[in-house]
């Protein structure tokens, strides 16, 4: 993690070296420690101090981007040469109005926790040891990861924009594995104090031991499902890629194309990218202030998420979603918050005559038919049969193939409580989601263990 002065010095030297009509740059420094465990053993434990500088130059409206991990004057000059050469061979982005220059204030948010930044690997290992010991008493072993990090993020451009913020995160996942099956719990927060690792272990253990000794099978068909936040998080990771990005809107693959302002999903479905209130962060890498951006509002499609160049190109309002300069996605939603409702998970189970309670999904893929957001995946780490309002049995992991346009039009109820879920590709934010009950989810197969 670097100071504001050091970060601005590097940015300033990079922008000076750009020698272009316009230029912007971002400098990101990350210190992180990730402790991975399996079989209740801490088997991988890594710390990293990493920093990188990305410089984008604009020549006659055309862009070139170069990234380096070296910051002396010679390396910065070489990086600027590479970026300029790229821009010289590029073409102007149609409609591009130039880099951000409005100097609006950024929201005052609390994105840094000193205690998390100072958390030593030893303290994390001790928390894991506590979880492992509790698991041994309950007859389960744990697998998962406990990650903490502190970052400094700075960006600026040749119009005088300078932004700097520090950010921490703490993210833990715990899979409890016992005789009956496995269970899962996870949480991501800004402060490690909000991520109680042994408590996550207890939650996972409860799922691993629930309905122990009772297993049933299920034929393919359409069923009511109760999806926990981690399952929704997996789906939203793919929705982000195939439907929300500027690129998917521009290339025609997103179901948002031609449908902005139309109600395509259920009235009880609202999805907002909100970096002001959820895992807060004040600006994007182009320096635009973050704000809450409704993506879907009561079922009505509002906007894709965009970097400035693609907002200009598409004639849409900028949404401040440039997380990498020159990113081919041209905008990604890293702070997705789904509105909850007034129900509870227990009430959803009680109201279900025949259905499936799903803890999480595995290996979702959203490329089947992107215009309907048709996806497939399997369930894992706790899939339960609900019959007559009660947890009747454990189910094998199930394959499903389901259009999300259809699914998010068929939400029966949502919980008031929401959970923050991390994503592997996104250090800035995550997904905040409730538990939802959805009618008519298509189960298409199941995991069948093979005999030798």
């Amino acid at each position: 993690m670097r100071s504001e002065a050091e970060s601005f010095d590097i940015l300033g030297r990079a922008l000076a070296a750009a020698k272009a009509d316009e230029a912007d740059a971002c400098f990101v420094s990350v210190d992180q420690n990730i402790s991975r465990f399996a079989n209740s053993q801490l088997h991988q434990n890594m710390s990293e101090e990493e920093a990188s500088l990305t410089l984008r130059v604009i020549l006659d409206g055309a862009m070139g981007v170069a990234t380096t991990t070296g910051f002396d004057d010679e390396e910065i000059a070489r990086t600027a040469d590479v970026a300029r050469e790229a821009a010289r061979h590029s073409k102007a982005v149609p409609g591009f109005q130039g880099l951000y220059r409005d100097h609006e204030p950024v929201p005052e948010v609390d994105s840094f926790d000193e205690a998390t930044a100072a958390l030593a690997p030893l303290a994390k290992a001790q928390a894991l040891r506590t979880m492992f010991d509790r698991g041994a008493a309950a007859g389960v072993e744990f697998a998962g990861a406990y990650a903490t990090g502190a970052s400094s993020i700075a960006c600026g451009n040749t119009h005088g924009i300078r932004r700097y913020a520090r950010m921490t995160y703490a993210d833990a996942t715990a899979i409890a594995i016992g005789q009956a099956g496995s269970g899962f719990a996870t949480r991501r927060e800004r402060a490690a104090a909000a991520v109680d690792v042994p408590a996550l272990g207890d939650e996972a253990t409860l799922k691993a031991t629930l309905a122990s000794g009772r297993t049933e099978d299920l034929e393919p068909g359409a069923y009511d499902v109760i999806l926990e936040p981690p399952a929704l998080g997996e789906v939203f990771d793919w929705m982000n890629m195939i439907a929300f990005t500027g690129q998917s809107y521009e290339d025609g693959s997103s179901f948002f194309v031609g449908n902005l302002g139309r109600r395509m999903l259920g009235e009880n479905f609202t999805l907002v990218d909100d970096a002001v209130r959820y895992l807060p962060f004040p600006f994007d890498m182009e320096g635009l202030p973050k704000r809450a951006v409704p993506i879907v509002e009561r079922g009505v499609l509002r906007t894709p998420v965009l970097d400035k160049a693609w907002a200009d190109r598409l004639g849409l309002a900028p949404t401040a979603h440039a997380w990498h300069l020159g990113s081919p996605e041209h905008g990604s939603a890293f702070h997705l918050t789904m509105d909850g409702g007034d129900s509870t998970r227990e009430a959803m189970i009680a109201s279900t005559k025949l259905g499936i309670w799903v803890t999480r999904f595995n290996y979702v893929n959203g490329l089947l038919e992107p215009r309907t957001a048709l996806m497939t995946g399997t369930t894992r780490d706790g899939t339960f049969l609900i019959r007559d309002g009660k947890v009747a049995a454990r189910l094998p992991n199930l394959r499903w193939t389901q259009s999300m346009v259809e699914a998010f039009s068929n939400i029966e109820s949502l919980s008031r409580e929401r959970r923050s879920i991390g994503t592997w590709y996104n250090m800035f934010g995550g997904t905040l989601a409730p538990v939802v009950k959805i009618r008519g989810w298509n189960i298409t197969g199941k995991q069948e263990k093979s005999e030798g």
Partner: protein
């Protein structure tokens, strides 16, 4: 640039701790360039240089790893001390005995071959090549997007270990591909050549890009994308399925390569993409596929992006069977996992860069060719479906239940290729699927495919692997 041998060895020598059992230090400089055109415009032009040093130590039974992108001597020494601190923490929550398989020290230097240095070819020439390959595909109003991309990759690596190895390796790779996207109303179809997600990749230079002949293939890709708009949907039901080489390569990746990783089988990767149905007691007896199925891990193939001279444990690259005549016979292993089987490492441990922990990764995992020409397989199929080019992939947390979608399919009726079909999906259970294999294509249909984006680990490491596969036929597979 970057620390030299003497500096790396001095850092190792400075790691004085009575509990220290093993240490290594790596330096990597990873250079990448990516050029993409879209609809007659330059869509993306970027260049990246990533330099890192990583130190890995084993103290007692605790592993510690620390890395930095700051190459100053002070920073590297700080990272080395940090690795010891992390290993000490690991010992708090790690009680299992760690045993390392024996290895000889090696001092070696190697580099992959290329004829035309990727960085010697101007950006202008790369763009011209892509424009020539994509512009002919434009014109029809239903063609919404055409694009093409070229990637250049070079990684220089230095490795020194406490057993006295010092190994320098450099790999240079290129990749490229084109795609056409056709839209008609609600119908959206994408066709790519030679493969989606950036195309095909080899450890080679510009000569590989020229050899792909993308400008020659462009109109076929456009025509197939347009034809898919009006093609009937692939039917649901059970069919004899002929899987083309590129799609079968991904099937090998997901349903054999990943489950044969010993760390996955031991549960060490469960928290991400899951475990493996292939468990150690099955070695040597489990019928994974029909007797026609031979799957080999071979890190020694010249020109493939899954090849190297030494892995990141300092173990020499090797060739060995994972599946022999249909029987599961070996795993991909490393020095700290192979002893669990009573074996020595077969050299498959790698890290994306020096900033990441080395873990077991696929090399070149190949389905060996059989003896039947593809034309004969088709002629011998009464009622079937031929699928080509991956579109979607999903497999469960034990690598058993899978579903793949492909860009295109064709009906096979009475030994002849018939109508084109859109949106084919097939699904099954891994061993049932491979046991149903009753025809494996000959060397003429076999090709090795570079896959530069295999994800594993936490933090996620994107590894460059490859798969050779012919076309093959599978009986009575569920479609739809």
């Amino acid at each position: 640039m970057g620390p030299e041998r003497v500096q790396l060895e001095e850092v190792l020598a400075s790691l004085a701790n009575p509990s220290l059992r093993y240490a290594d230090i790596r330096y990597t400089a990873t250079h990448q360039q990516h050029v993409k055109v879209r609809n007659g415009e330059v869509d993306h032009l970027s260049s990246t240089v990533d330099r890192a040093v990583g130190v890995r130590v084993l103290m007692g039974n605790g592993w510690g790893f620390a890395a930095t992108s700051d190459l100053s001597e002070e920073s590297i020494r700080r990272v080395a001390r940090r690795a010891l601190e992390v290993a000490a923490a690991s010992n708090i929550a790690s009680t299992q005995q760690v045993t390392l398989s024996e290895i000889e020290p090696h001092v070696a230097s190697s580099h992959s071959e290329y004829r035309i240095d990727p960085w010697s070819v101007s950006i202008e020439r790369k763009l011209d090549h892509l424009m020539q390959a994509t512009e002919p595909m434009r014109g029809d109003p239903r063609i919404h997007q055409v694009s093409g991309e070229i990637s250049c990759y070079r990684q220089e690596k230095r490795f020194a270990s406490s057993i006295g190895s010092f190994i320098e390796q450099t790999t240079t790779q290129m990749g490229g591909g084109i795609e056409a996207v056709a839209i008609d109303g609600a119908e959206f179809q994408r066709r790519t050549y030679p493969n989606p997600f950036g195309g095909d990749f080899q450890a080679a230079g510009w000569e590989f890009i020229e050899g792909l002949q993308m400008p020659v293939k462009a109109l076929q890709i456009r025509d197939e994308a347009l034809a898919l708009l009006a093609a009937p949907k692939a039917p649901a039901g059970r069919f004899d399925l002929i899987v083309g080489s590129a799609q079968l390569a991904l099937q090998v990746h997901e349903s054999c390569g990943h489950p044969a990783e010993l760390d996955r089988a031991m549960g060490l990767e469960i928290s991400l993409a899951g475990g493996s149905f292939l468990q150690p007691p099955m070695l040597g007896t489990f019928r994974y596929g029909s007797p026609l199925v031979n799957i080999v891990a071979d890190a020694t193939i010249p020109g493939s992006i899954g090849s190297f001279a030494f892995d990141d444990d300092g173990v020499p690259a090797q060739r060995f069977h994972l599946v022999e005549n249909g029987i599961f016979v070996d795993y991909l292993t490393g020095r700290d996992t192979a002893p669990v089987l009573g074996r020595t490492s077969n050299g498959t441990v790698r890290a994306e860069t020096a900033a990441r922990i080395p873990i077991i990764r696929m090399t070149n995992i190949n389905l060996e060719p059989g003896e039947t020409p593809l034309a004969d397989i088709i002629a011998d199929t009464k009622r079937g479906i031929l699928v080509e080019t991956n579109k979607s992939w999903s497999i469960d947390d034990l690598r058993l239940n899978f579903q793949f979608g492909c860009e295109v399919a064709w009906e096979i009726e009475n030994g002849r290729v018939g109508r084109m079909l859109r949106n084919p999906l097939y699904t099954g259970n891994t061993p049932d699927f491979w046991r149903s294999c009753d025809a494996v294509g000959d060397r003429a249909s076999w090709q090795i495919w570079g896959l530069p984006n295999c994800g594993k680990g936490d933090p996620m490491q994107t590894m460059r692997v490859a798969h050779g596969a012919p076309a093959a036929r599978f009986r009575n597979v569920e479609m739809g």
